[in-house]
Symmetry: C2
Subunit: 595 residues, 2 copies
């Protein structure tokens, strides 16, 4: 079997169905092999960064995906997306078509390199953002492909394989067995110890609680976590990064915990818990409202994919999956019935004719529009903040980048999620600045005849940055595009319906069309420059204090701790913040386009 075909077989065994990427001379032979494959399909993207985002989006639905680029120019174009997948713990197999092996070994001066004979720099660069790397040569192909793909699967992070152009065609002996995807198992004694200690702590606790992060989903821990919650009636909260991971209507769901920005009940239950089980939790600035959490580290038990920490004691050699399963059936814990008080669902008010659309009213409306089973993609900024405020119906998947937070991520990611869940309705919320970053990938979505509903918020610039610093500074301005014409520019087949919406009743008209879409629907929402969900305004103020302590009269005094970073200062200067709507300073013509 050829090396390229073997790699394809292994990638298919991993569960990959789509290879996102861009052709380049060094990967063409491998792409010919993909072309002949009946298991894996190539999805050509407009550029490599977009391809990386699409692969990331696909992996969040299917569990793993792959990216194909060419050496140097291609892989570096994608690396920001790969680093994002690493940060957010998304497994993406990066396959790089490299120059022919003999040229590498001769240090030849080639295009797509620095022409200095160095063929180690690209791999060195990717070592920072992948958990396993290799250059495939005929002698190591059989071992190395399996090693690297297994790392991707086990660690749920990107891996890097360089495939020299000539090596793809060479024949090697390959094993008959499928790729070994068995999860690592725990040391039995360590596992028993961990379960006993945690069970004891939970039993003795007055008010145990769970806090969940996104990796619960990545590592497939949702089921044992739910088992634990239900077996012992432990209330739980999710970090913003774990939005909609668990049914938000669950009777023990406290809501989202985000430090000072949490609802009071959720905040009290988590911060006052005397036994807080943190499942794969990373207390980042983004997840905690810029370190506004007040958790007592001695009361925290961290259960992670491959270890457990109880207070200051670390227990390695155990898997989170086995610890959680063990806890479900651990010696009976005193049953609890502390049902947290439930927040009332927001009431929907009727639309007001000709009233300019605001974030507040738009997201209220979206609360009814989002349906069970939807895939909801939210780009960073006003859109992620708006989405975070919704109570998601059962079975909704929320896709975003709460940690890496690269604007422009969500549109190409939508290509990946659409191909991976073709029967689910998919909604994208994206701001204008973000849309401009990666807009061309709408072309590939249209090329494939996919039919998402795309909301583009046209508020004339980088509103999240304006909220942090420079509300009227020119660097936060962008050019005005005819967003509603995007689908007719990026595709010639007139297969989309587009609206430009200024008012609430125009929004209603557009949503009627979007309710039963037989085509892609693009809705441009014209909103005021400084309008934003309240949670984002608060977050931005805290971010400004953190990034630019000189803004406050009292200087920020950071007190670093082991796992995060806490600030104690009170923000007293407010001169740079201008909240609330301001005029756009220009006229956006009312246009409504329907092909």
């Amino acid at each position: 079997m050829s090396v390229g075909d073997f790699l394809l077989r292994r990638v298919a065994e991993l569960g990959v169905r789509h290879l996102f990427g861009v052709p380049g001379d060094y990967n063409l032979w491998f792409l010919e092999q993909v072309e002949r494959s009946d298991q894996v399909e190539f999805v050509g993207c407009c550029n490599e960064l977009n391809a990386a985002y699409a692969a990331d989006g696909a992996a969040r639905i299917t569990g793993v995906s792959a990216l194909v680029t060419t050496y140097g120019v291609g892989e570096l174009g994608a690396i920001a997306g790969v680093a994002g997948a690493y940060a957010e713990r998304v497994p993406v197999v990066c396959i790089i078509g490299a120059p022919p092996l003999q040229a590498i070994e001769a240090h030849a001066l080639l295009h797509h390199t620095l022409a200095d004979g160095n063929f180690g720099n690209m791999l060195a660069c990717h070592r920072e953002f992948t958990v396993a790397q290799t250059r495939i040569v005929p002698a190591n192909a059989r071992c190395e492909i399996d090693r690297v793909l297994r790392s991707c699967w086990i660690e749920k992070r990107p891996v890097y394989l360089q495939l020299p152009s000539d090596v793809a065609a060479l024949t090697i002996d390959v094993p008959d067995e499928p790729l070994d995807l068995a999860a690592p198992s725990s040391d039995p004694d360590q596992l028993a110890l961990a379960i006993l200690r945690i069970a004891t702590r939970v039993t003795e606790a007055r008010a145990p609680a769970l806090l969940l992060d996104a990796e619960v989903g990545r590592f497939g821990l949702t089921e044992p976590v739910m088992g634990l919650i239900e077996a012992h009636s432990i209330p739980f909260a999710t970090l913003p990064s774990a939005k909609a991971l668990i049914d938000e209507a669950h009777e023990l769901h406290l809501g989202t915990y985000r430090g000072a920005g949490s609802a009071p009940e959720a905040r009290a239950a988590i911060e006052e818990s005397d036994c807080l089980l943190c499942i794969s939790v990373r207390l980042t600035d983004a997840a905690t409202g810029i370190f506004s959490h007040r958790l007592r580290s001695e009361e925290i038990i961290h259960i992670r994919a491959f270890d457990v920490t109880i207070g200051m004691d670390n227990i390695p050699g155990v898997t989170g999956a086995e610890v959680l399963s063990g806890l479900v059936t651990a010696p009976p814990i005193r049953p609890r019935r502390i049902l947290p008080p439930r927040a009332k669902p927001p009431k929907r008010l009727p639309p007001q004719f000709a009233r300019p659309l605001t974030h507040k009213r738009f997201w209220q409306r979206m609360q009814d529009f989002v349906q069970a089973g939807d895939v909801v993609l939210a780009d960073n900024g006003t859109c992620s903040a708006g989405t975070a405020g919704l109570r998601m119906p059962c079975g909704v998947t929320v896709v975003g980048q709460p940690l890496w937070a690269a604007i422009g991520y969500a549109l190409p990611a939508l290509l990946g999620t659409l191909l991976s869940a073709p029967r689910r309705r998919q909604l994208l919320f994206i701001g204008d600045g973000a849309f401009q970053m990666t807009a061309q990938e709408l072309s590939t979505i249209l090329r494939r005849g996919l039919k998402p509903i795309v909301f583009v918020i046209n508020n004339d610039g980088y509103t999240i940055e304006r909220l942090i610093l420079g509300p009227d500074s020119s660097y936060n301005d962008i050019n005005q595009w005819r967003y509603a014409e995007a689908a007719s520019f990026f595709d010639t087949r007139d297969q989309a319906i587009s609206y430009t919406v200024h008012t609430e009743n125009e929004l209603e008209d557009a949503l009627v069309a979007a309710e039963h879409p037989g085509s892609l629907v693009l809705i441009e929402l014209v909103m005021s420059r400084m309008d934003a969900p309240r949670s984002l305004v608060n977050f931005a103020r805290r971010a400004a204090e953190f990034d630019f302590p000189q803004l406050s009269r009292v200087l920020v005094q950071p007190v670093p701790d082991r796992r995060g970073f806490q600030t104690r200062a009170v923000h007293e200067g407010d001169a740079l913040q201008k909240e609330g709507p301001s005029s756009l300073g220009r006229t956006v013509s009312l246009r409504r386009i329907a092909h």
Copy 2:
């Protein structure tokens, strides 16, 4: 003076007038400082890769430029462009707004990082593609800013400065003296030795010749090189990467040397020279028609920026500038008057009504269209090949990426060249696949009211890849866009004129409008899928043989040498190549849009 203002002052002293980039929370304070600067202007781009390309384009005109991004997401988005600048030897100052210093030192878990407390990975990654790197802190700012900027200037390559968000505002003592930009000087004895040995070799030679590469321009060596050529009547050729560097009408100009693809006279003069002075030459695959050059290394004298190599002897400690200047006035060398035979300029044939446009005829037409003093940007592939075949009028600057060869480079680079040479006419030639990579930067060009002439070749996919492998394979296909509507989508002010051209007479109509443009002119050229300049077809065939030796019946036997890579095989299999025009397999509607 604040650290940020001092950095701005130094960057201005270096000669930077535009900072290309994208705002992000960590760089906002610095951007506020830029906003208040009267020497340096911020140019916001749609995304970071485009900003890097724009900075690269600007530096090729003005000698140096700068890029501002935010930590992690921003800098990695730009790194492919920075690596390209490194490869092509273009000095770009990369300024990265980093998290506040105390958070870095506390290893805080921040957004835009991997949330693992590692703040060294971004710098490590950039170390591969920049010649100096630093994190600016108050204690080192005064020294480090100067050290890093000086490296950029001296080595003509990108440098990397991380500016923590809080550091930008802090006040430091700064020197009154401007930035020291003095070029390094030679060791006097080594310099005398180098000049003597080279002068002797030239004097004794039967047929000396010069071969020039792009770095002659980057290091400002054009004048001493011309002095040497004229003082001793030495004929010279330019590599494809040095296109139009020297007046192509010069009586001693042999034309372009590209190995086997050279005109016979140029090839003979270079390959049969018994004293070949190579000025800053890198014999890459791209410059030599995939190592088809046949040079005798013992006859070569390499004069580079900071050393000289005569045969096998290296002489360090000398600068190319001083060696060249010394040679101009070296003890009299026997004057020579070997004037090379001149190729006749191609004749222009009248347009043929309704004849579908071909590359051959289009580039013949462009020979007349290009004017003295134009800036000509050519993206890689059919466009760079077509441009390479033109005899450029005096004073034309050609901008492209012959070595790094990232498609999509030239459109954002055009933003940089337009802002840097606002009074020169600027032409962009770009293919559809390349255009789709970075198309949104047309928005910034329109936002600034700039007025280039943009030719987009719509030939339905990646033609350069089709010529290498997979002419009919789907991975080389792209979606059809309404290219002629680009300017009306990416901007709302209707300040462009657009044409879709299928035939020679339609091209003439469009060129009439473009001759005296008061607005941006965009001309979509619909061409056949497999049509391409002959030189590109030949190059692609050689690239296919090199990348995929299995294509040939006789396997390629590479013979590595010290500086490059040579192949000796004869390509005998041709099954995968389909040359000449083929039908597009679809109908492109004739549209002509003029606002």
